[in-house]
Amino acid sequence: MQNSNRTVYKSGCVGRSLDISRFNSYHELRRELGQMFGIEGLLEDPQRSGWQLVFVDRENDVLLLGDDPWEAFVNSVWYIKILSPEDVQQLGKHEVESYGQNSGEKVQRDLSGLPPSMGSFDF
């Protein structure tokens, strides 16, 4: 892999960079990220902790980390974002935002670190 460095974002924190080719599994990656951001143990059990790891791929889609076979993930990941339970809730509020557009309501979305062109989910 030519450039295997990938950026990891977490709201409220400065971004970090890691070499994705150092890892062989999601478990290793989760553990490393937990340590890097001082949230050890929270990323390994999202059901319990409410913290989610998502990534943006080269088609600009936001995907939950872990569904793809590891190699497919490595080949498609553009950057990674760590979401706190509050962040996850904000992303779910996208529904409110899209229905509330006409009423002028603005939903605060904490997407710091994501590019402005972050994909729309409407088709």
């Binding site: 995907l63 076979p69 497919a72 529904e95 989910f121 088709f123």
Partner: protein
């Protein structure tokens, strides 16, 4: 050339006998079911209307629309009855899933989207 033909990997069921040479990590991945049992990737993206985080699903694990919709609905914490499955085909069109035979669907599907029944 002959040395490649004589390489056989245990457990290969699809008749591949070692040519063209496949990177060993990829072989291991396939044996673990990571490739979905075929050479073509069968993982497609799936979004839930209103949900900001998409998932991926391995279509090779399904053989009918029913099992697929059931699994997808569960993935997003919804009931089968509350959702409809749509998909984007190779031509970029968004269609309601279910009209064409399953095999044809699998051949043409590029991505999936679950929408709420209104």
């Amino acid at each position: 050339m002959l040395q490649w033909l004589s390489i056989r990997t245990k457990g290969e069921e699809n008749g591949v006998v070692g040519w063209p040479p496949v990177k060993s990590s990829r072989k291991t991945l396939c044996h673990r079911g990571g490739c979905g049992g075929g050479s073509k990737s069968t993982y497609v993206k799936v979004q839930m209307e209103g949900d900001g985080i998409a998932r991926k699903i391995n279509l090779n694990l399904h053989h009918s629309y029913n099992t697929l919709v059931h699994t997808l609905a569960q993935m997003f914490g919804k009931c089968n009855e509350d959702v409809k499955l749509t998909y984007q085909d190779k031509e970029g069109d968004w269609l309601l899933a279910g009209d064409v035979p399953w095999g044809s669907f699998v051949e043409n599907v590029k991505r999936l989207k679950l929408v709420k029944k209104t």
